[in-house]
Amino acid sequence: MSGILVVAEHRNRALANVSYQVLSKGRQLADQAQMELLAVVAGSDVDAYAKELAGWADRVLAVKSDRLEGLLAEPCQKIIAHLIRKIKPKITLMGHSSFAMDMAPSLSVELGIPLATDCIDIFWQNGDILVTRSIYNSKVNATYSFAQSETVLITGRVGEFSVEEGGRQGQIEEIEFDFEEESDYKKFEGYLEAEAGGVDITQAEVLVSVGRGIKDKKNLEMVEELARVLGGVVSCSRPVVDYGWLPSERQVGLSGKTVQPKLYLGLGISGAFQHVVGMKGASIIVAINKDAKAPIFSVANYGIVDDLLKVVPALVNKISELKGKTE
């Protein structure tokens, strides 16, 4: 009976946001109970993920196999079942994603252990683990305890747990796993991209976001160019959508999408609350605005007070130049 096991998942060469959320929650629970936090990540190429996960977990179990491409639930279940039997963690925790919905019930049956899904809170009480779930169409919050079991399975609601800083240096263990049989029902074919033209700004690592400061639709060209050299995607604030310069799926903010890119470049965006609500989770925020008093500077990590129409071409040139050097 040792530790808490968090199952990390990934898609399209990135760890899923929900994994950071449950990892943060797992860290908190482990610290409270003075337990070890383990993270497991399975896939065809997991080195980068493992390094990332080590920021939170005491130990990262990295399972590598070509069979695991696309993170299919069936093979994963075999691995996780194996690990639970071996490690006997007090709790196995994962995000309530479609992946977890696919795997967790079947895993629970296979091992004969209790499962609580879509939990909005998880906490210790007198040494027991309890969970809160929202029932009756979200009208009632119910607290549950588990049937006697040495290990329990929990999935946590997406977006419910805030991501805390990691900053640890956990150790990484590579684990070999032999799949005994080949009787898989599902096969990974490949990722389907969103419909042509459609861009999912919530998945982008770099967002170049424009506001009304762009002045004219034709100036979008230089912004597209900047996004291209940065390997990012163009998003925008609401007025740009109102003018019909960009489609509404590119809108960031209260009435648009909530984004968490690694780099968010805000160009000519004043930073009204409605917009900031949608982007403040970005790792690094850079703002360019003529108005030094624009509220966006209060959330930005870096700021440039100038006309974006002057700055952007200069940036494009400089970045292209730097990239030219490295390539």
């Binding site: 609401r238 959508v241 009435s255 009204a272 609350f273 409605q274 609500v277 509220p295």
Partner: protein, 393 residues
């Protein structure tokens, strides 16, 4: 669903769709229903929504995302109730809210509505920001926690979290301090007032919020409440008594009117501007308070008050009611009510558009930007105008 289950089954067929519900103060156009003004399809008019609701109840049409969007595009601005010449007009909004309630019951609401309600349930505010951050707006203001002062100053969700709302909340706090009003706030212990929740049809959640708030207020011995938002004012004044919550509720403009009149607040610093005033629905049509905000403006030296063509019970809603400041079913077009409204404000020649509601403030300020009118028109809450007039920076 059959008509017999629906509370207004014996009245909803009475709408003839004559279209009076679309008029402003006179017959100058048919664009005073915010949703109809935005889309101009008959489905989005008040009559259209009533007929569609009835068709849905009677099984003539199926529930759809589009139907939900049409119903939730109603901002509960009450223009229809005020303009409808027929005797059942008192129930028009109730009919809409009951239909939304049916959608909530079935879990079939537009996803932003769902988010809105879930966020309120979890964090007590529509943005889903932590309850622990609700009091951040007051940092450094010296505003005290409520502990038996004369007034509870209830700030509301927009005032507590929205950056612009926070500015007004702070300034109003300072104005009240300057006037020597004895008041306190709830800070992180404040919860959503529930006005929008009710209008979105989530009756159960509304009851829960109302009961909790009433219990909290009573526990603290609150007798008088002054609110920043007309939305809070409305529900506390009109709905809370139904939960045994009898408080003396005023909107801050009413309090300021009295303070200025009685010399309790010195506004001799003045505010030099040509100002037009936008009536918020929940102060105006819902509670027929058209005078207090105007009286405050008129008694501020330097303010030249000019009226928009639509005013008082003919005012055009900013489009933010019924949760639309968040769910935003009316945005994205030059026909959006907020953008129509700021253009109208500009036509008066005013350089300041005064509001008395944080929702209107954010909606209209956004619209001023979208219309590119920043150089001509500033959107200011009356609290900010008074703040400047009494020397608060």
């Amino acid at each position: 669903m059959t008509l017999t289950d629906y509370k207004y089954g014996d009245v909803i067929h009475r709408c003839f769709r004559c279209g009076y519900c679309k008029f402003p103060i006179n017959w100058m156009d048919v664009n005073n229903c915010p949703a109809y003004a935005r889309f101009r399809m008959e489905t989005y008019s008040c009559g259209g929504r009533l007929w569609l609701t009835r068709a849905w109840l009677e099984g003539e049409i199926e529930w759809s995302d589009h139907l939900a969007d049409i119903l939730y595009s109603c901002t509960a601005c009450k223009n229809c109730e005020v303009k409808c010449p027929l005797s059942f007009n008192i129930d028009i909004l109730n009919m809409m809210i009951a239909a939304k309630g049916e959608m909530v019951e079935r879990g079939e609401v537009p996803s932003p509505v769902k988010e809105f309600l879930e966020n309120i349930q979890r964090q007590g505010n529509p943005y889903g920001t932590s309850r622990a951050k609700r009091g951040e707006w007051m940092e450094g203001t010296g505003i005290e926690a409520y502990q038996g002062q004369e007034f509870l100053y209830y700030v509301g969700c927009v005032g507590s979290y929205d950056t612009r709302g926070q500015e007004t909340a702070r300034i109003l706090g300072k104005v009240l301090q300057k006037a020597g009003v004895s008041f306190g706030v709830l800070g992180n212990d404040e919860n959503c007032d529930g006005n929008e929740v009710k209008n979105l049809g989530e009756e159960t959640l509304f009851e829960m919020l109302a009961e909790e708030n009433v219990a909290q207020f009573q526990g603290l011995g609150v007798q008088k409440i002054v609110t920043l938002s007309p939305h809070s004012y409305n529900t506390m004044k009109n709905d809370y008594p139904g939960f045994n919550g009898e408080f003396e509720v005023s909107h801050y403009t009413q309090l300021l009117q009295g303070l200025i009149r009685d010399g309790g607040l010195d506004v001799s610093g003045g505010y030099n501007a040509t100002v037009t005033y936008h009536d918020p629905c929940f102060l105006g049509r819902w509670n027929e308070e058209y005078n207090a905000p105007r009286a405050v403006l008129k008694s501020t030296p330097g303010v030249q008050l000019v009226e928009m063509a639509r005013n008082k019970d003919g005012a055009l809603c900013c489009g933010g009611g019924g949760g639309n400041f968040y769910i935003d079913l009316l945005g994205g077009s030059a026909d959006s009510p907020a953008r129509r409204r700021v253009r109208e404000a500009c036509e008066t020649g005013a350089n300041v558009l005064a509001v008395a509601c944080p929702n209107c403030l954010t909606m209209l300020e956004d619209a001023v930007k979208a219309e590119g009118l920043e150089d001509k028109l500033a959107v200011k809450d009356i609290a900010e105008i008074v703040g400047e007039a009494c020397g608060i920076k």
